[in-house]
């Protein structure tokens, strides 16, 4: 029998054990706490425990399972909320009440529920690993395709008839070429740290449309792409993730709350159950799964939560869906690595983080991508990871290492947040490397003017930035009129365009065609105002017309479904400028 020898927080050691394997899942002690083998030497096998070790005693038994830490994949994942090791929090609440106890075991998915299964194969068919053999309507939005699991391929020997089954029921039997009979149910297990196989990686060419202007216009992310969102506390990381989770055009959302607030998960759960997706008219929760490992839950499970989430994402991708993963916050995961590493007395690299931090971050973001699945569908996993830099200092290791591996960087800014300019994305520090990959799509789907207008916006913001250097020293009054106009148009862009109110009914989500129309309107205002200045009229007179502020409020005043109203604004601009004597 293998026994607990040493205990230090979540780290447990076993002496002189030989039969464990690295990354193996184990049960620790009489409460059967879930753990994972993280290092093995002749003297000690080291286990990190995903639950609280309070009360654990040396000498208690450790049971090997022979399996790496895995998730259960099957119908019933969507609309659910799990902890970091995929325990269903609803069921735990029903079973144990308000507080989570260590050693709770509840199956991840509902084993009693009967699902209406429709089969896609018949007796005698040849099936391959990853092929769809049946489906169930998991929610009113999502058809859950049941895929042949675990490298199995061969001939279908028996198939049940369409009808109601429980997830553990054997519904198909497949004989492989060696004559082994495999029983397929609706569930399969997959190790969370192992990426699920694909046929091919495809180039990224389609944006993940978020309805957030500053993202879609200035710093877009591709379907299958990656973005890092660093920001000090209160700068809007979580709100940004919520906004994207609510409004982006992915099919499935995997929302991972990693080491953050409990109330935020409660809020997400409540809100997503009530909010109706404008495209499908169904509650958003029907396409969402939440993974909640809040900051007061055991530290080691933070790491697991990230992998649990990404594995679930890959599973839906394999069905041919576009999945967006929100990870809030990856810094808490990195800190969990640091804490465990510290307890193992490993040699720390930068700021106490282990030397393998960069490679772990890289491996995580590399699981994003636009792919051809084993069954020849296209699916994607996009990852948006929040980063919580210590002291809001972006030079710290997690921010810097994430920057190396993501291709969108949305830097959130304290000053903007203080002035309640949300989304507080700093347009000077942020970037997207996808713009070239996506240009074809924008040109074709939104119009060739889109990227043009975008370029003009960027130029105006850069000019403003330069002018502000001067203004900070001598004030605005001394600038020539045409520069005052530049500043004013830049203000219209900042306040009227980049800034977006998540709590406003019309402004919370803005489709791309409205984004384009808003840009065009602002640029028209600039062009016309410039012309009026050229005619020798004073800038102060332009200001008096209030037309700039009218344009700023377009975001509130023109509803998303009444874009014809833009025409009135062109008239308004003409009239206002014309009236200047």
């Amino acid at each position: 029998m293998n026994k607990v020898y040493a205990i230090n927080g979540p780290v447990v050691k076993v002496k002189n054990a030989t039969e464990f394997t690295i990354m193996e899942m184990v049960y620790v002690g009489k409460d059967r706490l879930l753990g994972e083998v993280i290092s093995i030497s002749e003297d000690f096998t080291v286990i990190q425990v995903y639950e609280s070790t309070v009360g654990l005693k040396p000498g208690e038994e450790i049971i090997a399972t022979g399996e790496p830490i895995s998730v259960t994949l099957g119908p019933g994942i969507l609309t659910n909320i799990f902890d970091g090791i995929q325990r269903p929090l609803n069921k735990i609440y029903e079973k144990e009440g308000s507080f989570i106890k260590a050693g709770t075991t509840v199956p991840a998915l509902n084993q009693e529920k009967e699902w209406e299964v429709t089969f896609k194969v018949k007796k005698g068919d040849h099936v391959e690993f990853g092929q769809e053999f049946a489906y169930v309507e998991e929610t009113s939005l999502i058809k859950h395709k049941l895929l042949v699991p675990n490298n199995i391929s061969g001939e279908v020997k028996t198939v049940k008839s369409d009808g109601k089954y429980k997830i553990e029921d054997v519904i198909v039997k497949v004989e492989d070429k060696y004559g082994n009979l495999h029983e397929l149910t609706m569930v399969q297990r997959w190790p969370i740290k192992k990426p699920r196989p694909i046929k091919d990686r495809l180039p990224l060419s389609i944006p993940l449309v978020t309805g957030q202007r500053v993202i879609d216009t200035l710093f877009p992310i591709a379907k299958g792409g990656t973005a890092g969102v660093p920001g000090g506390f209160g700068t809007g990381k979580t709100m940004m993730q919520h906004q994207i989770a609510k409004w982006c055009d992915a099919d499935i959302i995997v929302y991972i709350g990693c080491g953050e607030r409990g109330n935020e998960m409660t809020q997400t759960l409540d809100e997503f159950s009530e909010l109706i997706d404008p495209k499908s008219n169904k509650p958003l929760i029907e396409r969402t799964v939440l993974i909640a490992n809040t900051s007061n839950m055991p530290v080691a499970a933070r790491e697991a939560s990230i992998y649990t989430g990404i594995t679930i994402a890959e599973y839906y991708r394999d069905m041919g869906y576009h999945v967006a993963v929100m990870a809030d916050s990856t810094s808490r995961w990195a800190e969990a690595l640091r804490e465990i590493s510290g307890r193992l007395e490993e040699m720390p690299a930068e700021e106490g983080f282990p030397a393998y931090l960069p490679s772990r971050i890289a491996q995580f973001y590399e699981r994003a991508g636009y792919t051809q699945t084993l069954n020849n569908n296209n699916g994607s996993v996009s990852i948006i990871g929040a980063i919580s830099p210590q002291g809001a200092d972006f030079s710290e290791p997690v921010t810097q290492n994430t920057k190396r591996f993501v291709r969108c960087f949305w830097a959130l800014d304290k000053e903007l947040a203080y002035a309640r300019h949300y989304a507080a994305i700093n347009w000077n520090l942020s970037y997207s490397e996808y713009i070239n990959d996506l240009s074809k799509w924008y040109n074709k789907q939104v119009g060739v003017e889109f990227l043009d207008a975008r370029q003009k916006f960027i130029k105006l913001l850069a000019e403003e930035n330069k002018l502000m250097e001067i203004v900070k020293l001598i004030g605005k009054d001394v600038l020539p009129d045409y520069q005052k106009l530049t500043l004013e148009i830049a203000r219209v862009i900042r306040v009227g365009y980049l800034q977006q109110n998540a709590f406003h009914k019309e402004d919370t989500f803005v489709p791309l065609d409205k984004q384009l129309k808003m840009m065009n309107l602002i640029l028209y205002l600039q062009k016309e105002a410039k012309r009026v200045l050229k005619e020798g009229k004073a800038f102060s007179l332009l200001l008096k017309t209030n037309i700039f502020d009218k344009v700023i409020k377009v975001k509130y005043d023109i509803p998303n479904d009444q874009l014809v109203l833009f025409d009135n604004y062109y008239k308004m601009i003409d009239e206002a400028l014309h009236a200047i004597k």
């Binding site: 040493a6 205990i7 230090n8 927080g9 050691k13 309070v54 009360g55 654990l56 005693k57 040396p58 000498g59 909320i81 929090l89 609440y93 507080f99 106890k101 000090g232 506390f233 209160g234 709350g257 080491g259 607030r261 409990g262 109330n263 998960m265 809020q267 759960l269 409540d270 909640a292 809040t294 900051s295 007061n296 530290v299 800190e335 640091r338 804490e339 510290g342 700021e351 106490g352 210590q390 809001a392 200092d393 203080y418 002035a419 309640r420 300019h421 900070k472 020293l473 004030g475 605005k476 009054d477 306040v495 009227g496 709590f503 200001l543 209030n546 700039f548 502020d549 409020k553 509130y556």
Partner: protein
């Protein structure tokens, strides 16, 4: 279980080490008996085969390898709970120190608590009227929230906390049960007395449970103090359906105690010597706020911390801000100008207010007003920094108006002294202040709201503006 061991292997800082120990569990509580009859308390913090490390809360002074007997309790630290803790005073270990004898116990509870299941939580939405404009108007406190005060030495954080406690209580119209749990960590006797006195003056002393670990009390015991206090709070809220307000001060002293413990254990230090797990440790305290489905009570936390050197990026305020649902930041400059309460509104934030304000809660214009006040006051800062370069006289007319607005905003809105304002008074005052800015500067607010609330004449009268040129300027851009 009654395991007893005599003698120690090693003493190192607050830690003692024992050899040949069997059958004890991680984080088990122990009792340490000295030859002279003294008793101390400790907790198992590491087990390595038959060697265990024990953290001694009262300190290891006077301990020798020979003169001690260790008794293991068989369980993690628990304290006895009942509603009778109200009106009582305890030390940092949860033992009564008010000479009123033992507290009747109806339940023993693990002071570490357990993680609250997010599914069991109710998202907090009901605002607490504190009577303080900067809070009610701009960083609204919500029942069940954890909203710390970030302060610095010499600033009136205690006054503000007391004011919140007193006024919040008064505004509670419904006949709901409430209680206050007060945890003092490393503060002086004066501070603790100040709180006690003000609870007394408010006539609520019999509804207060105090857990005191004062400046001259054992430092390591500080690690337990907030845990005992929060155990009481959770018990009262979740088992007795009481609305509990927890005031904890000073969290900085708590963190320093944790640092001391960590370094004595030889752990690899993180930033400024604080342990890498400071975030998780603080979260295990702050997350013990909230409302749950299974009870009618709530736990609201107002932790107070002093920012070393007024530095908000110091690990203690930084990590706190990452966990709590906002922060109220006190500003030294306002304090020096004689403004009370000196709340620096720009870095202050209430994350829960967005769902607890507006029609049905406060008033429908609240959100707009708040956004606009923040945006306009942020502009004041720009104008001020420009003025410091080119001189106030050289500012543009608009910037001068912002300077003016900034002055009034601080003098009328932020600076309110100790009297209480209703939410209507606060919101109306906010609009009056905005009305001294040109209308087109109010670019965060939609037209309909401005129509209702923007009123220049009233502002001029209210602020009793006499200066002819200012009035002329104010009225000019109206048409």
């Amino acid at each position: 279980m009654d395991l007893q061991y005599i003698g120690l292997k090693e003493i190192n800082g607050p830690l003692i080490f024992l050899e040949n120990v069997k059958g004890i569990s991680f984080e088990e509580m122990v009792e340490i008996k000295l030859d002279n009859g003294q008793t101390r308390h400790g907790r198992v913090v590491e087990i390595n085969g038959d060697l265990v490390a024990i953290l001694v809360f009262e300190g290891t002074h006077n301990l020798s390898l020979r003169n001690t007997t260790i008794k293991f309790s068989g369980h993690a630290m628990k304290i006895g709970m009942s509603e009778n803790v109200l009106g009582r005073v305890f030390n940092g270990l949860g033992e009564p120190i008010d000479n009123l004898g033992h507290v009747f116990v109806s339940k023993y509870l693990d002071i570490n608590g357990s993680a609250l299941n997010p599914v069991a939580r109710v998202y907090p939405r009901n605002y607490i009227n504190t009577g303080v404009s900067s809070i009610d108007g701009l960083t609204t406190l919500i029942r069940g929230q954890k909203l710390p005060i970030f302060s610095g030495s010499g600033m009136p954080h205690n006054d503000l906390a007391v004011q919140i406690v007193q006024q919040a209580k008064l505004s509670d119209e419904k006949d709901e049960k409430f209680a206050i749990v007060f945890a003092a960590m490393g503060v002086t006797n004066d501070v603790a007395n100040y709180f006690k006195k003000s609870f007394e003056e408010a006539g609520v002393l019999d509804k207060v449970a105090m857990y005191l670990n004062l400046a001259d009390d054992p430092i390591i015991e500080r690690i337990l103090t907030p845990r005992c206090a929060l155990t009481a709070a959770e018990y009262l809220a979740y088992e007795k359906d009481i609305h509990v307000l927890v005031v904890m001060t000073d969290m900085t002293a708590y963190c320093e105690a944790l640092r001391e413990f960590s370094s004595s254990k030889g752990e690899i230090p993180g930033r400024k010597g604080y342990p890498g797990y400071l975030y998780s440790d603080l979260a295990s305290l702050f997350e013990r706020a909230g409302i749950i489905k299974d009870s009618d009570g709530s736990v609201t936390q107002i932790p107070i911390l002093s920012m070393p050197n007024d530095d908000i990026t110091h690990p203690i305020p930084d990590l706190t801000g990452y966990i709590t649902e906002g922060q109220i930041v006190l500003d030294r400059e306002l304090h020096q100008k004689g403004i009370y309460p000196p709340i620096g509104v720009l870095p202050s934030l209430s994350r829960l207010m967005k769902d607890g304000i507006g029609s049905g809660y406060t008033r429908d214009d609240h959100q707009s007003l708040m956004n606009q006040l923040f945006a306009s006051y942020a502009r004041v800062m720009d104008a001020r920094s420009l003025a410091s370069v080119i001189g106030e006289d050289e500012l543009s007319i608009v910037d001068k108006k912002y300077m003016n607005f900034g002055k009034y905003f601080e003098e009328y809105f932020i600076s309110q002294g100790h009297k209480s304002r209703t939410i209507t008074e606060t919101l109306d005052l906010g609009w009056k202040l905005l009305s001294i800015l040109p209308k087109q500067e109010l670019d965060r607010t939609d037209e309909m709201i401005l129509e209702r609330f923007y009123d220049k004449e009233e502002a001029i009268n209210y602020f009793n503006i006499k200066d002819k040129t200012i009035i002329k300027e104010l009225k000019k851009e109206d048409n």
